[in-house]
């Protein structure tokens, strides 16, 4: 991976090499030639080189190999999440939200659903920490069976109280009280992002917290640096840098959220550090139903300083 990745635009390789039917969630075959043509058209030669190395069967990318690469990449991403204390970061923001929901008399249990959880690091970390309370159910959903099997395998080894399901997060039998995600938002553009946020508007959902790369002039370079020194898998290096490049601006995220999910009051948390113009790696899009708004702000304590204007 070179610094040239910083000048690239989407899609990421991990978006292009897998495909799922949005209704049946069945995996669809992906033709290697189509993926290569797509990246050649974008003049993304690094992506072409990486995809060229992937084996095919009758012109279709070998799903087993693709899954293996994705699992390895997620494992490497988890290392970065651990270094940047992401589990604790999520927990620290969820606690005031959950306390606000409890004070507002939300129905038990409180279900936290991690959208596109991959190998489930955040859900497993939250389960291992036990920091959110016994009235909380933790669940990770994703379309990729292999990633979820890995998440479940890891959770079983450590005897963690959480579950994983191949499902559409918005069509669960037991709906989510709080939706969370990490590094998902930038995969959705324009109408796709708007549609994703619209889906939060269901009676049972009381709040959402979506973490993603914070878009700043330094972010692509910083991301390149960290992916260069911490990652080994070429796909993870490429996509990691591209993620920072494709990150949505805070203002844009808020505009789309307020228009797509008007039932919630929303804000961006953690754009700046200690009220100073120090950019952060991640920021988060936070939304709560107005009913819980005041309690949420009160429970945030000193952290409220890192919360943008909520409306």
């Amino acid at each position: 991976m070179s610094l040239a990745t910083i000048t690239r635009h989407g899609p990421e390789i991990s978006d292009a090499i897998v495909s799922f039917d949005p209704v049946t969630l069945q995996r669809k075959p992906v033709k290697k030639a189509d993926v290569l043509a797509q990246f050649r058209e974008l003049r993304n030669h690094e992506a072409v080189k990486i995809v060229e190395q992937m084996p095919e069967q009758n012109g279709v990318l070998d799903p087993a190999v693709v899954d293996k690469i994705l699992i390895t990449s997620h494992c490497e991403m988890q290392r970065m999440s651990e270094e940047f204390q992401h589990g604790k970061r999520v927990s620290e923001l969820l606690k005031p939200i959950l306390n606000a929901l409890r004070e507002g008399g939300v129905n038990n249990p409180i279900r936290i659903v991690d959208i596109g959880c991959g190998t489930g690091f955040v859900i497993r970390w939250l389960a291992a920490s036990g920091s959110l309370g016994d009235d909380v159910q933790l669940m990770g959903v994703d379309f990729n069976v292999a990633l979820l099997n890995e998440a479940q395998r890891l959770a079983t080894i450590e005897n963690l109280r959480c579950k994983f399901e191949v499902a559409n997060a918005f069509r669960l039998d037991e709906p989510a009280t709080v939706f969370i995600s990490t590094g998902i938002l930038h995969h959705f553009r324009d109408e796709g992002l708007s549609y994703l946020l619209q889906q939060h508007c269901r009676a049972e959902t009381c709040a959402f917290v979506h973490f993603d790369f914070h878009s700043s002039p330094m972010a692509p370079l910083g991301s390149w640096l960290f992916h260069a020194v911490r990652m080994r898998e070429p796909l993870a290096k490429h996509d990691g840098v591209l993620s920072a490049v494709r990150a949505h601006k805070s203002r844009y995220l808020l505009e789309v959220t307020r228009s797509a999910a008007p039932e919630f009051v929303s804000a961006i948390y953690g754009t700046r550090l200690w009220r100073m113009p120090i950019p952060r790696v991640f920021h988060s899009l936070v939304g709560v139903r107005p009913k819980y708004h005041e309690a949420f702000l009160r429970n945030m304590g000193t952290r409220v300083a890192s919360l943008g204007k909520i409306e």
């Binding site: 494992c75 204390q85 690091f121 890891l154 911490r230 990652m231 200690w274 790696v281």
Partner: protein, 170 residues
Amino acid sequence: MIPVFLWVLATIDSAFIGYREAGGRNALIDKRAYYRHALIRGAVVGQVAVLIVGATTAIILASSNDSVALFSKLESVGARMLTVYVPYAVILLITFLIRSVPSVDIRSITSTVIFGPFTLIRPIVVLAGAVWGVLAAPGAITIALTTLIVCLMLGLSGILSWLRSRRLIS
């Protein structure tokens, strides 16, 4: 004392090489034992590297006509190397102390400002220390020994990865 200081630094450095090499390969949440083993493994493999350098130095000294003068030369090279490596190590150790503060933001910033960039520049620091050291007493022996040290310092991670690829470590 200079060889002792170099040995201490080599041991700490190789322990962290072991840690970095193990990073991103285990997706469990509680990895304390895993990383403890990785640190020890790195330090142990580092001792093999130290032994190679030590044995080579001993052979060179034994076959020298003036071993006292040569030892003094090598010490001056080592002392100059320390002037580069010690500040690098001290900054990292101070950063570890700062990271012990239980704050997500402070811990993250230690990574973005120090740990990440310092990992990136480590090969440059290794080379800079070696060149700076050799300049104290340029000669075929000091260049050869320093080159051996640089190769071992920069190659240790590759050696560990090779051992892993052969399933000799997990």
